[in-house]
Amino acid sequence: MTETLQGLSFTRRALVLGGLQAGVAAILAGRMSWLSIAENERYKLLAESNRVQLMLVPPRRGWIVDRHGRPIAINRSDYRVDLIPDQVRDPERTIAALARLLALPPDEVERIREELARAAGYQPVPVAENLDFDKYAAVTIRLPELPGVAPQRGFSRFYPDGAAVGHLVGYVGTANKEEYEAAKNPLLITPGFKIGKEGLEQTMENRLRGKPGAKRLEVTARGKLVRELSTVSDRSGGILPLTIDAGLQSYAARRLGDESGSVVVLDCLTGDIVCMASMPAYDPNSFSDGIGINEWRMLSDDERRPLVNKALSSLYPPGSTLKPMVSMALLGAGVDPEDIVYCPGGYRLGNRTFKCLGRHGPMNMHRAIAKSCNTYFYSMTRRIGYDAVAVMARRLGLGAEYDLPVVSQSYGTVPDSEWKKRKYKQDWTQSDTLNAAIGQGYVLVNPLQLAVMAARIASGRDVAPRLIGRAHGPAAPLDLPPEHFERVRKAMWEVVNGNGTAGRSRLALDGIEMGGKTGTAQVRRITAGQRGQAGTPWKYRDHGLFVCFAPTANPRYAASVVIDHGLGGSRAAAPVAKDVLTYLFDRDQAMAALAGFEESWGGDISARMARDARRWLAAKSAAGPAPVA
C-alpha cells in the first residue's frame, strides 16, 4: 500500500465518519423533536405534578343543633402538630424532640415513627392534636431547629352536653384503614380530618362533612415549600337541626342518675323525638379525641352497658305498659268496657294458675287498667284471641322498625299464631295468650316503640318518630274510634291521678296532669310468688317501665321510661317520667328536684363518671397488673 492509496483511504473513511456524525446529529434532533413536540403534553403534565403538590384543607364539620338552635355538636378550634415527611431531615432526632416537648407516650412515638417511615411526599403525618397553647407554643418557638414540623390550628369536635347526648349523636374519629380502602378518598387520611363513627355523626355523614378546600403548593424536589399557588377554601358542612330539645335531653340523662335506663319523649302530635336519652353513656368528647385503652375497657366491662343505646337497641318485655293497647284491642273487638271480671288473685287455666298482683275483686276495664289487674286481661284477651291484639299492637307502633337515621334499632317481637308457627313450628296455646296479654312471654319491644305507642294513644294520630328537621303539622288521625282512645286515656289518668298504681308520681303542677301506665317486666321466669325483687342480684331484678302522656286535657307529649332492673314501674320509672315531664312545663321546679338528687348521688354526670373511672382504676391496680394488650 502506498502513501497515496493511504491518503485516499483516509479521505474515504473520514467521509464515512463525517456521515456517521451527521446521522447521529439527525437522530438527536429527531429524538428531541419527538420528546418536545409529540410527547410535550405528557411531559408538561409530569413536570406540573412534580412541581405542584395538592394539600387538602379539611372542611369544618356541620353543627348539630337542637329544635331551638341550641348547639349539640360544634367545632372548637384547637392546636395540632404534624410532620411533613419530605421536610424532615433527621427523623429520629425530630421525633425525640417532639416526644419531649409534647410529653408523648411511648406507643404514640412508635406510631409516629412507623407512619413516618411509610409516608412519602407532602402528605403530613399527625403527631398530636388537642394541644394546649403552652405545648403548641413550645413547639412553635423551636421550629428553626426542627425542619418538617408543622404546628397548625385546627378544629376538633365538641359536644357541650357530653355523655347526655353520647348515644344520640355518636362521635367522630379518624378514618381507619378499612374506611380509607373503601372510599379511596385522600381527604380521609388528611391529618385533622374526622368522620362520623356512631349515631347521627355516622348516619348523617354526607350532610355534615362539607367540601374540603385545597392548597396548591409549589415545592422543590426536597419538599421545601416555594410558594402557595392558589387556595380553594373549604365549604363547611351543613347545619343539622334535630327535633331534640337539648335541655330536656340533658335533663333526662341527668335525672336517670346512676340507673341503667332510657327516657324517650315524643311530641305526640308530630312524632318529633324531643328526648332520647340512654344512660349510662360514654362521653363522645373523649371518643372523638381517641379513647384510651383503660377507658375503653371500663366501658365495655360495665354490666350497665354504657356502649349500648338502650332506647333503640335494648329489648324488654313491656309488661303491664301494654294494657292500654290491649284495652284498645278489646274495645275494637266489641268488648263492653263495663263488663265485669272478678279477680280472685289469679286465673285458672286447666290445672295452672296465672297470678295477679292482688285480689282485686270485680273489675271493669277502667279499674283494671288503673289497678293493673292481670286477671281482667287474661280473661278478656282469651275472649277475643291474641291475634286480634297483635293487630292492634302493630297499629300502635309495636314491632316496627322506624325510618330514622340511626345506626341500628332492634324492633322486637309482636307474636301471633302465624309467627309462632313460622318460628317454632308449634301452635299458639292459651297460655301463650295469657302471657302475651300482660306483656310477657314472647312480646319484646324497645323503649322508642313504647313511646310511639303512648303517643298514638295520647293523640289518636298515626305519629311516626322523627329526628331531623321540622314537621309539617300534626300527623293524620288513626282510623280508630276516638271514643276508644278517650276511654283508655281516662283510665291512664286514673293510674296517676286517681286510685291507681302510680299515684305517687302525679305532677305537682296547676292544671297539668299526666296519664300513664306502669309496667314491671320479669327478667327470668321465676317460680310463682318469687319475683325478681330487692333481695336478688341486680341483673336478675325486674325491669321497671312506665309510659305516659301529658297534659291529659290536651295531650302534647308522650314518653316512655325504662329502668333496667329497677324492680318496678311505679317505683323506678314513674318518678323519672314525672320529673322529665315537669321539666317541659316548669323548668325551675324540675331543676330543683334534680339538684337534690344529684347532691345525694355525688355530683352531675361528668363528676360521677370521673369518680367511677378513679374507682375502676384503683380496683384494677389493686387486683394486680392486668395484662395490657
Partner: protein, 370 residues
C-alpha cells in the same frame, strides 16, 4: 487578505468561524448556568466565563504551534499522562478510596481527561511512523492496541466507564482512519454485539439494572431511572419554545439532578425548548464539520489522523452526553463540552480545538505558500 487594512493580520488570520461557534456555545452555556443558579452569576456562571476566557486564550496561543511540534511531543506527553494515571490509581489505593484527580494545590488535575486528546496524538504518531506497507500486518495492530488499552484499563479501574470508553472510541477511530483492514472493525462490531448480552448476563441484578435502565426509566422512576426520567420530563415539557428564560421548574426546583453539569442540556431545553436544542445541536455539528474539513485538508498523515481523531473526541463528548440526557444511552458521567459547568472537560475540548486550529493554520499557510 482584503481586510488587512482594517484589522491587523494576526487577528484577521484567526479561524473566526470556529471561534464564533465556540463563543456561541459557551456563551449560551454561561447564560444557562446563570439561570441554573436561580438567576445569579455565582456560583457557576462567572467562574465558567472566566475559565472559558482563559482556555480560549490558551487555545488561540496553541494555534501558533506548528503541528510538527505536536509530533515530537506525542509520545512523551502520553508517557507523562499515563504515569499520572498510575499515580492517581496508587494514591487512591493508598488513600483507601477511588479518586480521579490529583490535587496540585492550584488546580485539580484529572489525568483521565488529558488522556483523551493525548491518546489520539500517540496513536496518530504511531501510524505516522509505521511504513505504509506494514498497515495490514500484525505489527500495525498490537502497539496501537496497547497504547489505547493501557490507559483505558486504568481509567476503567477508577471506575469511570464513560471516560474509558471515550479513550477507547477515540483510539479505535484513529486506527480506523489509519487504514487498518475493514474486516477487523466489522468483525469487532459483530463480536461486541454478541458480547453485550453475554456480559450483561454475568452482571448482578442491580448492576444490570443500572446499565439497562435507560431503556425503560419509568420502570423505576425514583431509583435508577430517576436521572433519565427527570431529564426527559425537562426536555419534553419545554415544548417548541420552552418555558422561558429563568422559568424552568424542573431545574429550579431541583427535580433535575446535575442540572448545571451533565444534564445541563435538559436545563437549557426546558427553558429554550426545541428551538434552543436544535440551535445547540446545529452549532456543535458545524464545529465538527469544521474539524473534519481541517482533517481532510491537512498536509501530513500525522496531522490528518490527529485532526480527525480530535474532532472525533469532541463528537463522542457531544453524542454520548446528548444521547444520555435524551434517554438513548445509559447514564455515564460525560459532560456536554463547553456547555456543562466544569473545568476538566472544557480544558480537554479546548486542547483539542487548539491543536485543530494549529493544523488549520498550517493548512492555510501551505495554501499561501503554493
Amino acid at each position: 487578505m482584503s481586510s488587512s487594512s482594517l484589522v491587523p493580520a494576526p487577528i484577521a488570520q484567526l479561524p473566526w468561524r470556529l471561534i464564533l461557534l465556540v463563543l456561541l456555545i459557551a456563551g449560551f452555556g454561561i447564560l444557562v448556568q446563570f439561570s441554573s443558579a436561580g438567576g445569579s452569576l455565582m456560583p457557576w456562571a462567572l467562574p465558567q466565563a472566566v475559565r472559558f476566557g482563559a482556555f480560549l486564550g490558551m487555545a488561540i496561543l496553541m494555534s501558533y504551534v506548528r503541528p510538527d511540534s505536536f509530533k515530537a511531543f506525542a509520545f512523551p506527553a502520553y508517557a507523562v499522562v499515563l504515569l499520572l494515571l498510575v499515580l492517581v490509581e496508587a494514591l487512591g489505593f493508598v488513600g483507601g478510596g477511588a479518586q480521579r484527580w490529583l490535587d496540585l494545590g492550584v488546580i485539580r488535575l484529572q489525568p483521565s481527561e488529558l488522556m483523551k486528546p493525548v491518546v489520539i496524538l500517540a496513536v496518530a504518531r504511531f501510524y505516522d511512523l509505521l511504513p505504509a506497507g506494514e498497515i495490514r500486518r500484525w505489527t500495525a495492530i498490537w502497539p496501537a492496541a496497547a497504547l489505547i488499552g493501557l490507559p483505558a484499563a486504568l481509567v476503567l479501574l477508577q471506575p469511570d466507564l464513560g471516560t474509558a470508553s471515550m479513550i477507547g472510541f477515540g483510539g479505535l477511530m484513529v486506527m480506523f482512519l489509519a487504514g487498518l483492514p475493514l474486516r477487523l472493525f466489522l468483525g469487532g462490531l459483530a463480536a461486541v454485539a454478541v458480547a453485550i448480552p453475554v456480559g450483561l448476563s454475568f452482571l448482578h441484578g442491580y448492576q444490570r439494572q443500572r446499565v439497562t435502565i435507560f431503556l425503560d426509566p419509568e420502570a423505576d422512576p425514583l431509583g435508577a431511572g430517576y436521572h433519565i426520567t427527570q431529564s426527559k420530563i425537562a426536555i419534553g415539557s419545554g415544548g417548541l419554545t420552552g418555558k422561558g428564560y429563568l422559568n424552568g421548574t424542573q431545574s429550579h426546583l431541583d427535580y433535575l439532578p446535575e442540572g448545571h453539569t451533565d444534564f445541563v442540556f435538559a436545563t437549557m431545553a426546558e427553558e429554550w425548548g426545541l428551538i434552543g436544542g436544535l440551535f445547540l445541536i446545529g452549532c456543535f455539528f458545524l464545529v465538527l464539520l469544521w474539524g473534519m474539513r481541517v482533517a481532510l485538508a491537512a498536509r501530513t498523515r500525522f496531522a490528518r489522523l490527529t485532526a480527525a481523531g480530535l474532532t472525533g473526541t469532541i463528537f463522542f463528548y457531544v453524542a454520548i452526553n446528548l444521547m444520555m440526557v435524551m434517554g438513548l444511552a445509559p447514564v455515564v458521567g460525560i459532560p456536554l463540552p463547553l456547555f456543562s459547568y466544569g473545568g476538566s472537560a472544557m480544558l480537554t475540548v479546548m486542547l483539542c480545538l487548539g491543536a485543530l486550529m494549529a493544523i488549520d493554520r498550517d493548512n492555510r499557510g501551505e495554501r499561501r505558500r503554493r
